[in-house]
């Protein structure tokens, strides 16, 4: 770590994706909630969640959200 610019760059690499994730979340909540809820109700499951659907007694529809990105 030699220069101040390096620290700025590291900070930018951390702040930019987190801020992007935050903005996308807010946009999805604001503009995609109605369509999203309909999709969640209709969708059956996801793989990482993982071959579990159909046996998930304790899973909420939240597991199926399109924003569920790991």
């Amino acid at each position: 770590m030699s220069t101040t610019t390096d620290w700025y760059y590291i900070a930018a690499c951390l702040v930019v994706p987190v801020a992007w994730g935050f903005v996308v979340h807010v946009l999805f909540e604001q503009f995609g909630s109605r369509a999203g809820k309909a999709r969640r109700a209709a969708a059956e499951g996801s793989v990482a969640g993982a071959g579990f659907e159909g046996t998930r007694s304790d899973a909420s529809d939240d597991d199926l959200a399109p924003e569920y990105q790991i």
């Binding site: 770590m1 610019t5 390096d6 760059y9 590291i10 930018a12 690499c13 951390l14 930019v16 994706p17 987190v18 992007w20 994730g21 935050f22 996308v24 979340h25 999805f28 909540e29 995609g32 999203g36 999709r39 209709a42 969708a43 059956e44 499951g45 996801s46 793989v47 990482a48 969640g49 993982a50 071959g51 579990f52 659907e53 159909g54 046996t55 998930r56 007694s57 304790d58 899973a59 909420s60 939240d62 597991d63 199926l64 959200a65 399109p66 924003e67 569920y68 990105q69 790991i70």
Partner: protein, 303 residues
């Protein structure tokens, strides 16, 4: 400074390729619920010619954005389970350091080895073979999950390896105050760290079943713990990657844009598919990724 040799700015064609790769990979979270780091790194390397270490660092940076969205969404529904992820964190940090250190070593290495009378770069070949092994592990995990999910209920499957009784133990609210093996939890944290640091993967596809089978978490909690762990690992990992010059932020921004578009497309398609068909398509994605890596290895061998 830390950008690799793309010139002062990316050309429109390079940006378009990055957005396209981001969109292709971004479809996976909406469609299957996995991050797609296992696909993004080989695609960037093979189709965009991005050096492996830059692909891994930039992919980790992109994943941090996706995980943030997922975590915030989860937080809006229920409190996030931080404790188990924090218990895992020291081992995750060690894994990150180990993964990134190996990556640093590979950056400096120019060793070549002979295959069928031709000289091929040792490091790139080894990295691609590692991805190939990870693909096979993923395929095995998905196949086992699909097989066991057929006729055994989740309650019976949860924590079936807890009986290993590996001390020391820790009691956590995430596992309803029961004692869990700190050793097993740490090993999982280590694996997540290595996958995150060395391969640019979130590790969710392994961590979710691991938490269900080895620790006995419900799927719902396992997914929430995985999101928090991936966020913490991603945040620290991106910091280390950026400090070592492995992150191209401009590339990451284009990938994020593509991934956001892809996630919406994926979630729209997912509505029309059944869970069984989703898993079948996911198996095809793994097969396609394996094919790309094998093709690249073949190209290296004959070039």
């Amino acid at each position: 400074m830390t950008r690799y040799d793309l010139g002062p700015v990316m050309t429109p064609a390079e940006a378009l390729i990055a957005v396209a790769i981001g969109a292709v990979v971004g479809i996976l979270p909406g469609l299957f619920g996995v991050g797609g780091g296992f696909l993004m790194v080989p695609l960037l390397n093979v189709f965009a010619g991005v050096p492996m270490h830059i692909a891994i660092g930039s992919c980790a940076c992109t994943s941090l954005g996706s995980v943030t969205t997922g975590m915030l969404h989860r937080r809006a529904a229920s409190p996030l389970p931080w404790r188990l992820s924090l218990v895992m964190l020291p081992a995750t940090f060690l894994g990150l350091e180990a993964g990134i250190s190996v990556l640093e070593w590979t950056k400096a290495s120019t060793t070549r080895w002979t295959l069928s009378g031709r000289e091929v770069p040792l490091v790139e070949t080894t990295q691609l073979v590692c991805y190939l092994v990870i693909m096979l592990v993923l395929a095995a995990v998905v196949a086992l999950e699909t097989y066991y999910a057929r006729d055994v209920d989740e309650q019976a499957r949860r924590g079936w390896l807890e009986s290993l009784h590996l001390p020391p133990y820790v009691r956590l609210p995430e596992i309803d105050g029961r004692k869990g093996s700190l050793l097993v939890i740490s090993i999982m944290g280590l694996v997540v760290g290595v996958l995150n640091g060395g391969f640019g993967m979130g590790g969710a596809i392994l961590l979710v079943p691991g938490l269900v089978f080895l620790v006995g978490l419900s799927t719902h909690r396992a997914v929430a713990v995985t999101l928090v762990s991936s966020f913490l690992a991603g945040f620290i990992g991106v910091g280390i990657h950026a400090a070592r010059g492995n992150v191209d932020l401009v590339l990451s921004c284009w990938l994020l844009l593509g991934a956001t578009i892809g996630a919406r497309i994926g979630s729209s398609i997912a509505v029309r598919l059944t869970g069984r068909r989703l898993r079948r398509y996911f198996a095809l994605v793994i097969l396609a990724s394996t094919g790309i890596i094998v093709w690249r290895l073949y190209a290296l061998a004959v070039s």
